[in-house]
C-alpha cells in the first residue's frame, strides 16, 4: 500500500473540514466506513489516497431512530446491526434481508450502510485495473469483453452493474438520503442518488468528493405493506447479486394498491420496473397477473454477448418475489 494518513474525526463538521482542507491542498481524500472494500482498492492500487477519513467513530452517524415519519438510519450503522434490528425486520423486511444478504458476517460486522451504498463496482475489468471509465479511462472493456455479470438494462457507455444490495431495497422503500458537505446539507430521493453512466461514466452516484452520506430516511410503513428482497448468487454466499429483486407491495386483501419493484445486479443503478408496477396496481394478485408482470419485467432489456441468461432469470426472480409476497 502506498503510504497515507488515516484520521477518525469525532464529529461530522470535523469530517467535512478534513475533507475540504485536503481538497484545498490538492490531496486525494477518501471516506471510509467499515473500510473493507476501500482497503482492498488501495491494496490493488486502484485508488491511491493521501488521506483516509474514517467515519465510524462519529456517534451521531451510527444508529437507527424512529420518528412519526418513519425511520432514520445513520450512514455508519453496520449492516449487521440493520439485519438484526427488530423493527427493520418486522416492518421493512426488504431492507433487513438485503443487509443480511451482503457478503459475510465479518464484512457485515464492519461494513456500514453508507459504505454499502457508495461502494465501487465489482466489474472484473475495473477490479483488475483495466483503464476503464471507472479507472480514469474512456472505454468500457466489458461491453465487448467477458460480460456475463454485466448490465442488461441502462448500460452505456459503462456497463457495470450497481453492486449494492441495500440500494434497490431503499429505492423500493422510497427512501431519502441526507448528504452533508462544505456548502451545507441537501436531501436526495434514493432514486436520484444513483446516477447512470450517461451522467458521468466514472461515477455511480451524485455524491461530491467532499460530501458525506450521513443518514437515510425510510418513510413510515403503511398498513398492508409487505416487502422482501430476493437475491440470486452464483454460489450460496459471498458474491454480489447476479440478479436481485426488492419488492414492496401495499396490499388490500388480494388487491395490490401500490407496488415498487427494483432490480439489483442488472443495471448501473438500482433498476426500477415502473411499467411492471403500473401493471400490478389496482389489480387482484393471481397467477395470471404475476405471469404477466414477470414477462413484462424484461421489456427493454439489451443483453450483451454473455449475459442473455439474465433475461429469464429476471423474470423468474420477479415472479418468485411476487408469488412469495402474495402468500
Amino acid at each position: 500500500m502506498k503510504a497515507f494518513t488515516s484520521v477518525s474525526p469525532r464529529s461530522l463538521p470535523d469530517a467535512v473540514t478534513a475533507l475540504s482542507r485536503a481538497r484545498q491542498q490538492g490531496q486525494h481524500a477518501i471516506i471510509v466506513g467499515g473500510g473493507s472494500d476501500a482497503l482492498a482498492l488501495i491494496k490493488e492500487r486502484l485508488i491511491a489516497p493521501d488521506l483516509v477519513v474514517r467515519l465510524t467513530g462519529i456517534r451521531q452517524l451510527d444508529g437507527i431512530a424512529r420518528d412519526s415519519n418513519g425511520l432514520t438510519i445513520g450512514g455508519e450503522t453496520t449492516l449487521a446491526a440493520m439485519a438484526r434490528h427488530d423493527e427493520l425486520r418486522r416492518a421493512y423486511g426488504v431492507l433487513a434481508q438485503a443487509a443480511e444478504s451482503v457478503a459475510t458476517p465479518q464484512i457485515r460486522n464492519a461494513g456500514t450502510l453508507a459504505g454499502n451504498l457508495a461502494q465501487r463496482p465489482w466489474c472484473w475489468y475495473y477490479r483488475n485495473g483495466f483503464t476503464c471509465f471507472k479507472n480514469g479511462g474512456n472505454t468500457c472493456y466489458s461491453a465487448a469483453g467477458e460480460n456475463q455479470f454485466n448490465a442488461i438494462f441502462g448500460g452505456g457507455p459503462s456497463f457495470i452493474v450497481h453492486p449494492s444490495d441495500t440500494a434497490p431495497a431503499l429505492v423500493a422503500l422510497d427512501a431519502t438520503f441526507r448528504i452533508v458537505g462544505p456548502k451545507g446539507e441537501r436531501t436526495v430521493p434514493a432514486a436520484q442518488f444513483f446516477t447512470l453512466p450517461t451522467v458521468n461514466p466514472a461515477r455511480e452516484n451524485a455524491l461530491e468528493d467532499d460530501e458525506v452520506l450521513t443518514s437515510i430516511h425510510v418513510p413510515a410503513a403503511k398498513a398492508g405493506m409487505r416487502s422482501l428482497y430476493h437475491k440470486v448468487m452464483d454460489r450460496e454466499a459471498w458474491t454480489h447479486a447476479i440478479v436481485s429483486a426488492a419488492a414492496v407491495l401495499r396490499m388490500d386483501g388480494n388487491v395490490c394498491r401500490d407496488a415498487r419493484i427494483v432490480l439489483g445486479g442488472v443495471a448501473p443503478i438500482p433498476w426500477r420496473l415502473t411499467e411492471v408496477e403500473k401493471l400490478l396496481v389496482g389489480q387482484t394478485m393471481n397467477d395470471a397477473l404475476i405471469d404477466r408482470a414477470a414477462a413484462a419485467s424484461t421489456t427493454g432489456a439489451r443483453p450483451l454477448r454473455n449475459n442473455a441468461y439474465k433475461v429469464p432469470l429476471v423474470q423468474a426472480v420477479v415472479g418468485r418475489a411476487l408469488t412469495d409476497l402474495r402468500a
Binding site: 500500500m1 475489468y125 440470486v232 423468474a316 415472479g319
Partner: protein, 727 residues
C-alpha cells in the same frame, strides 16, 4: 461425525491402526502455535515482492531499476539481467522429476525471470527491502518497456498453422526428450471397432483452469550462512526441494537445508522447489541478509499452477446391448507456456473395450502455467469420459449403473489383473445406500420448477508401491522416534506415520515421537504427492520398526545415553498385477429450472482405499476431496479476457470457491481390504475422493434436466441456456 460406516470384513483388526486417532499435532493446529513458513521472522530479515508481467506475451526491451534502488530501505533487486537461474522443476520434465539426466537432455529452459515473458503474472523483477511496504512501493518504481507480442489462449487455437509461436519449435508441447509429440495409447483398432458397432456417438467436453488455491499463499524465507542455504518453504517434498535447489543454484546438496514445519495445504505442485524459493535465495545472497518473499493471493493464482484445462472429443462405438466396441479420445490440454507437468487426460482405462485409441496433445498457450492439482489428469478426464458414457447410456435408454456394470474395467487395460478388485462392490453398495433402483428415473423425467436428478460415477486409481525411507530410534527409557522426510500438508501424514510405527513396534502411540519436515533431521521421502506417503513412507516405517525390534531382541533396550537406530530403504514392487484404489460416487441434485440454481442435496461415496490406517483423518480426506470436486463441477474457473489475455477471476471471490453454505454432508463408506501390499494393506486415498466427483455432479445435473452441460463449470448461465435450448 459425518455419517461414516465401514465395511471391514476383509481385514484383520489391529491394535493402533484402524482406530480413530486425533492428530498428534492437533493442539498446535487449534491454538495458533503451528509454525507455517510465513510465520518465520528472523532478525534483520528483509521482505521481498515480485513484479509480474501485465502482458500475456511480450519481449522486455529494457528494465530501469534506478528509481527503485534509490528508494530508502531497498536492499536488492533482481531481474532477468542479473538474476537468471534455471528453474528446473518449473518446466520441461513433462511430469517427470527434473533430474540431472533430464537437465542434460533438454534444451527447453524456464528461468526464474524469462525474456520474453509468456503469461500475465510471469515474474519480471523482485525487490528486497527492509519492510513489506517499501518492497511493494519499489516495484512501482521499476520502469519496464515491453515489445508486445501476439498471444494465444486456447489449446486448439494454439495448434492452428497461423497461431502465434510461443516457442520457436511451435506450440505442441515437447516432452523431456525435446520431442513435440502427443501422448498416444492404443489397443485393438478403433476403426474396426466403429465398423463393428451398432451405434457410434461423438461429443466434445471441456474443463476449466482450476487453481489449487491452498489457503496458505506461497512464501519462502531464505537465509545464507556462508555458503550454506537454509530455506523455509511450503513444500510437500523437502528432499526433492533440496535436490532442486542445489541443482538450480549449482551448489552441493549438503549445503542446502529445507524446512517445512507446517504447511497450509498442498493439492499438488509442491513436491519440488518453487521459483519463490530460488528468487528468495538469490535476493538473500545479493542483500547479505535473510529474505522473506511473499506472494499475494492473486499472484498465487496467476503466477503459479493449477489444473490444466482440457478439450476432449470422444467417439464411442457400442452394440445394441450397450457393450463398448470402440473408444476414441482426441484430447487437448492447455499447459501455459511451460510444460511443468504431463497434460495427460485419464479415463479410457476405466472401461473394458477391445479397441481404444487415446491421443492427447499438451499444448503451449499464453495462460498461466498448468500443473498438478489433486489427481492431475483424472477429475477432468473422468468428467469427460463418464459424461460421454452417461450420454451413451441415455441414448440407449439404459440405466447408467447397468451400463457401468457391463463395461467397467475388470482387469487393468483388459489385460493385467488387479491385486484386489472391489469396484463392483463399491458400486452395488452405493446403489443400495442411495436406493438407486427406487430413486433413479430416466434423464429429464421432472418437468416442474424443481427437478431432481441422481448421478453416478466411479473410479480406479493408481496405488502403486515404491521406494521411500525411514529411520527408527529408541532410547534407554523406551521412547521411540521415527524420522520421516514428509511434511504434513494437511492430510495427517505425521499422525499416520506415528500410528503405523506404534502398530509395528507394538507400543502405544504416546511412546512414539515423529520427526518430520527438516532435511537436517529426516531421510529421503517420496514427498507428499501422488497419494504415496502412506503407502511408500508408511511401508518404510514398518520396515525400520522391524529392524529396530530385531536389534532390541538381540541387545535389549540401550543403556544410559545410548540410542539404538535402524533404518530402512525398501523398494517393494507388485509382480504380475496392478494395484488400484476403487470407488463410486453418487450425487443427488435439485435444479431450479427457472433460475438455473443447482443444489447438491445428497452425496454418497464408497471407497476401497485398502486398510484404513486412521479412520478419523481418512474421513476428512474423503469429505474434502468430494467437496472440492463438487466445487470444480459447479463453480470454479479462472476466466480470461480473450482480448487482452488477462485473467479476470483470481482469488476466492472471483473463482467462487465453495463456502460453508455451499458444502453438504458427505456420507462415506470404506470397503476395507488388504491385498498384502503397502502398510497393512493401505492404498492411496488423497486423490481418490476428488477424482470421480465432477463426473457424478455432471451426471446428476443431466439426469435432472435432461440436457448435458458439456463445459465445466456447470454455472447458472449454462444451465439456463441448456434449458432454454430445450424448450
Amino acid at each position: 461425525m459425518s455419517p461414516q460406516r465401514a465395511s471391514s470384513a476383509g481385514v484383520q483388526p489391529l491394535t493402533t491402526v484402524g482406530h480413530p486417532t486425533p492428530r498428534i499435532d492437533a493442539v498446535e493446529r487449534v491454538t495458533g502455535k503451528a509454525r507455517y513458513t510465513n510465520d518465520v521472522q528472523l532478525p534483520g530479515m528483509l521482505f521481498a515482492r515480485v513484479l509480474r508481467s501485465p502482458h500475456p506475451h511480450a519481449r522486455i526491451t529494457s528494465i530501469d531499476v534506478s528509481n527503485a534502488h534509490a528508494l530508502p530501505g531497498v536492499k536488492a533487486i533482481v531481474t532477468h539481467e542479473n538474476g537468471q537461474v534455471v528453474w528446473g522443476s518449473g518446466s520441461v520434465a513433462g511430469g517427470q522429476q527434473y533430474s540431472d539426466e533430464i537437465k542434460k537432455i533438454t534444451t527447453h529452459r524456464r528461468y526464474t525471470f524469462n525474456n520474453p515473458v509468456r503469461f500475465v503474472g510471469e515474474p519480471v523483477a523482485a525487490v528486497a527491502a527492509t519492510d513489506r511496504h517499501t518492497a511493494e512501493e519499489a516495484l512501482h518504481l521499476i520502469r519496464v518497456t515491453y515489445e508486445v507480442l501476439p498471444f494465444v489462449l486456447e489449446p486448439e487455437a494454439a495448434l492452428a498453422a497461423d497461431a502465434p509461436k510461443i516457442w520457436p519449435e511451435g506450440n505442441l508441447a515437447v516432452n523431456n526428450r525435446n520431442e513435440p509429440q502427443p501422448q498416444v495409447q492404443r489397443r485393438g483398432n478403433v476403426e474396426e471397432g466403429f465398423k463393428a458397432s451398432d451405434h457410434v456417438f461423438d461429443a466434445r467436453y471441456s474443463t476449466a483452469f482450476v487453481h489449487n488455491a491452498q489457503m496458505e499463499p506461497r512464501s519462502a524465507v531464505a537465509q545464507w550462512d556462508g555458503d550454506r542455504l537454509t530455506i523455509y518453504t511450503p513444500t510437500g517434498g523437502i528432499a526433492n526441494c533440496r535436490t532442486d535447489m542445489a541443482r538450480d543454484l549449482g551448489i552441493p546438496q549438503e549445503k542446502v537445508r529445507v524446512v517445512c514445519q507446517y504447511m497450509g495445504g498442498n493439492f499438488g505442485n509442491k513436491n519440488q522447489n518453487q521459483d519463490a524459493d530460488l528468487i528468495a535465495a538469490v535476493l538473500a545472497k545479493a542483500a547479505g541478509a535473510p529474505v522473506k518473499l511473499e506472494l499475494s493471493r492473486k499472484e498465487d493464482y496467476i503466477g503459479m499452477h493449477g489444473r490444466w484445462p482440457t478439450v476432449q472429443h470422444y467417439k464411442i462405438g457400442v452394440s445394441n446391448d450397450g457393450t463398448l466396441k470402440a473408444i476414441q479420445l482426441r484430447g487437448f490440454s492447455g499447459m501455459g507456456p511451460y510444460r511443468k507437468n504431463s497434460g495427460a487426460i485419464a479415463g479410457t482405462e476405466l472401461y473394458q473395450c477391445p479397441n481404444v485409441e487415446s491421443i492427447v496433445t499438451p499444448v503451449f498457450t499464453n495462460k498461466t502455467v498448468s500443473g498438478n492439482y489433486r489427481g492431475p489428469e483424472f477429475p477432468q478426464g473422468f468428467f469427460g469420459i463418464q459424461s460421454m458414457m452417461d450420454d451413451v447410456a441415455a441414448a440407449l435408454k439404459m440405466d447408467p449403473t447397468a451400463f457401468i456394470l457391463k463395461n467397467m474395467t475388470r482387469k487393468f487395460r483388459d489385460d493385467t489383473p488387479y491385486t484386489n478388485y472391489s469396484l463392483e462392490e463399491c458400486l452395488l453398495r452405493g446403489m443400495e445406500m442411495v436406493r438407486w433402483k427406487e430413486r433413479w428415473r430416466p434423464a429429464g423425467t421432472d418437468n416442474g420448477r424443481l427437478r431432481r436428478g441422481l448421478g453416478v460415477s466411479f473410479m480406479a486409481f493408481r496405488s502403486g508401491v515404491g521406494r521411500s525411507n525411514a529411520v527408527a530410534r529408541v532410547n534407554a527409557k523406551g521412547d521411540y522416534t521415527i524420522h520421516v522426510g514428509v511434511t504434513d500438508v494437511g492430510a495427517g501424514a505425521k499422525t499416520t506415520m506415528g500410528v503405523i510405527a506404534a502398530e509395528a513396534l507394538r507400543v502405544p502411540l504416546s511412546k512414539v515421537q515423529v520427526v518430520w519436515g527438516d532435511t537436517e533431521t529426516c531421510p529421503y521421502s517420496v514427498g507428499e504427492s501422488g497419494s504415496r506417503t502412506t503407502i511408500m513412507t508408511g511401508y518404510a516405517v514398518i520396515e525400520a520398526a522391524k529392524a529396530l525390534m530385531v536389534q532390541i531382541a538381540e541387545q535389549g533396550l540401550p543403556a544410559g545415553d545410548r540410542v539404538l537406530t535402524a533404518s530402512s530403504n525398501p523398494n517393494p514392487t507388485v509382480q504380475g498385477a496392478v494395484r488400484n484404489a476403487f470407488g463410486a460416487h453418487f450425487c443427488e441434485v435439485e435444479v431450479e429450472a427457472d433460475t438455473g440454481r443447482v443444489r447438491v442435496t445428497r452425496y454418497v461415496t464408497v471407497h476401497d482405499c485398502g486398510r484404513i490406517i486412521n479412520p478419523l483423518t481418512a474421513s476428512s480426506q474423503i469429505v474434502g476431496g468430494a467437496t472440492q470436486g463438487i466445487g470444480m463441477a459447479l463453480h470454479e474457473d479462472l476466466v480470461y479476457d480473450r482480448r487482452s489475455g488477462v485473467p479476470l477471476t483470481p482469488g476466492y471471490y472471483g473463482a467462487r470457491v465453495m463456502t460453508h453454505q455451499d458444502a453438504v454432508a458427505i456420507e462415506n463408506v470404506f470397503i476395507e481390504t488388504d491385498d498384502g501390499y503397502g502398510p497393512y494393506g493401505a492404498k492411496s486415498m488423497g486423490e481418490s475422493s476428488k477424482v470421480p466427483a465432477p463426473a457424478a455432479v455432471s451426471n446428476a445435473v443431466f439426469n435432472a434436466i435432461g440436457v448435458r452441460v458439456k463445459d465445466l463449470p456447470i454455472t447458472r448461465d449454462k444451465v439456463l441456456a441448456a434449458l432454454g435450448g430445450r424448450a
